[in-house]
Symmetry: C2
Amino acid sequence: MALIVQKYGGTSVGNSSRIKNVASRVAQARKRGDQIVVVVSAMSGVTDNLIKLAKEIMPLPSEREMDVLLATGEQTTIALTAMALHAIDVPAVSLTGAQAGIVTDGVHTKAKIANISPKEVHKLLDAGNVVIVAGFQGQTSDGHITTLGRGGSDLTAIALAAALRADLCQIYTDVDGVYTADPRIVPAARKLSEISYDEMLELAGLGAKVMQSRSVEFAKKFGVTFEVRSSLNDNPGTIVKEETANMESVVIRGVSLDKNQAKVTLALVPDQPGIAARIFKAIGDSAINVDMIVQTASHGTSGATDISFTLDKADLLKARKVLDGIRADAGFKEVIAEENIGKLSIVGVGMRSHTGVAARLFEALATAGVNISMISTSEIKISVVIDLDKGEAAMKAVHAVFLG
Amino acid sequence: MALIVQKYGGTSVGNSSRIKNVASRVAQARKRGDQIVVVVSAMSGVTDNLIKLAKEIMPLPSEREMDVLLATGEQTTIALTAMALHAIDVPAVSLTGAQAGIVTDGVHTKAKIANISPKEVHKLLDAGNVVIVAGFQGQTSDGHITTLGRGGSDLTAIALAAALRADLCQIYTDVDGVYTADPRIVPAARKLSEISYDEMLELAGLGAKVMQSRSVEFAKKFGVTFEVRSSLNDNPGTIVKEETANMESVVIRGVSLDKNQAKVTLALVPDQPGIAARIFKAIGDSAINVDMIVQTASHGTSGATDISFTLDKADLLKARKVLDGIRADAGFKEVIAEENIGKLSIVGVGMRSHTGVAARLFEALATAGVNISMISTSEIKISVVIDLDKGEAAMKAVHAVFLG
């Protein structure tokens, strides 16, 4: 008898007939003799409606009260899901995050799970029940309701799987799994049968938005193997797990394209210690996330250099203001912004043991007539900034070379 | 500094602008320097929508899960009400029933309050907050969410007022208070400035549906004085409290008319011990509530008697079936049902010390040409069954005689 944690997102429980569909999937799994814990999100649209209601009352509502408000969304779903299981004669009991023993810190709207006491969950499982747990929520040790922020229900599922020492954790969503590339852009993209945590993390940070990084990080930290799969069919999904030796035999796991970045170049920055620090401190203090940073060599005898970095397009205006404010002080000459860029990345633990990967990438792009304006590498990732207009063609070309 | 518990019903918090209105009333009360606890219901319509959603899943959902589901209604309101107070710079913290320390028995959907540990409420009040508590809900001692059934939010308010030793408990509703008669029927009806628990209880049981009996009973048991008043204006309401000596100087507190009853007569019931018991046991076993019961003297030498009783019109069909089933066994001759009746009642603790009240009632009805077909009395109430068509005229006549 295995213990399985299944998580169903907002679309999968979006209305009463979808909730019934979830119930019948759960019932099927239970028929195999396994113990099942089901984690559910709020029905799609519900959270947005609650936020709208709150904004009618006050533009910037208290975060503690937002958590009290939003936690009702998942609480509604757990009750309905339990009922749907009862309707097909499966014993089931619902638990709020607090009731399931999920204790968090007190950072409302983006709380971190501090610990889980799964006593009640075990007790109910041992009594023969399917246990339905509200995702996305917990409570502080002194009893305040908290929520875990974006992707919180995935986190609940993975943390519960860790605390319960579950044999399997399944993240049901509206896609079939993790692909070698976005199939809407690259028709030849294939679903991956497995991927390592680190690869998944790189992909999550690169616009392949199957899951939030924090859930994957949590799974990695606690060694929780999980499967991303669809709630709409019975296809096997993608297993996300600790890196294994044979994973390195595959050079590249996937290709991603982030169209949401902009590039800023600071021209003629004085080549002195402390200048770059001052610039990026000012940027960081404004809560702007910088991704790639590239500094070129000094311009001959001028004693000045160029620094380029990428950031979210949405932050560009704010960044310009910050940079204009410190230009005189930092002594750079000009701020040049480019919005028409895309960041193409290849990810794979196989890079560690395969040489010449970067060269093959550059060659593929050159053959496709794509110019590279920035390069950044990590141990298992190479990212390049290219013309946005050539992004999709570049992606297809790179996919064909490495994954075709 | 006084401690005041204010309860606002579903209509009073029916949308965001009404919630803002509640917040400004609360702020006003707080300006006087008092500590305020606010008990709120679900926004009107919300509970019905949740029930509808549950029925889509299953016709007869589990009562435990119904409680988990319905409790979200009040939880939504407490968060929004706290936000509305924040918006006008009043510090406020919301608490679910469980967080407010409301412990109930485990009878889901109609739980009884077992005890209240108001430590958290006191702590938050002492820190200068308005405390917003979700009405209608609590939790069992082992942590299951429960709801208190119809009128549950009133009960929460009164029980909290008792546990907190509040100086005042105000039940805000959409009527101005308790009237001498329904003003829609008797234009001369007056709002009462005060009424005793017992009178309120008799009226609650007689179709004057301002509050459920159980809340009044709870208030009586724990000596909680409360005021029923409108959330839409600043008129003083009706104080409901322990009977005082001077209350008896008023003969009659109010007149009510229950149009929702039917009358059943069993003709020629054998006048033997145990027959009536057998009949009403069969009725009671079918969960039919019988109100007035009248037995006439034996018919001369026949050794038989007639028994009449009243019951809810909705139960009439069920009652007929039960009675047809036992007729042969119980030996009565015939079942005669009348639906076209009304039950007119006068209520007042003054009846105890004033004689001739019944006679004055019968005279008033006779003068108005109204025939009486059943009479039933208690210490502080006289009820008569009359023709439904003459009900409203009878009410006006009786009101004029006793309260005009």
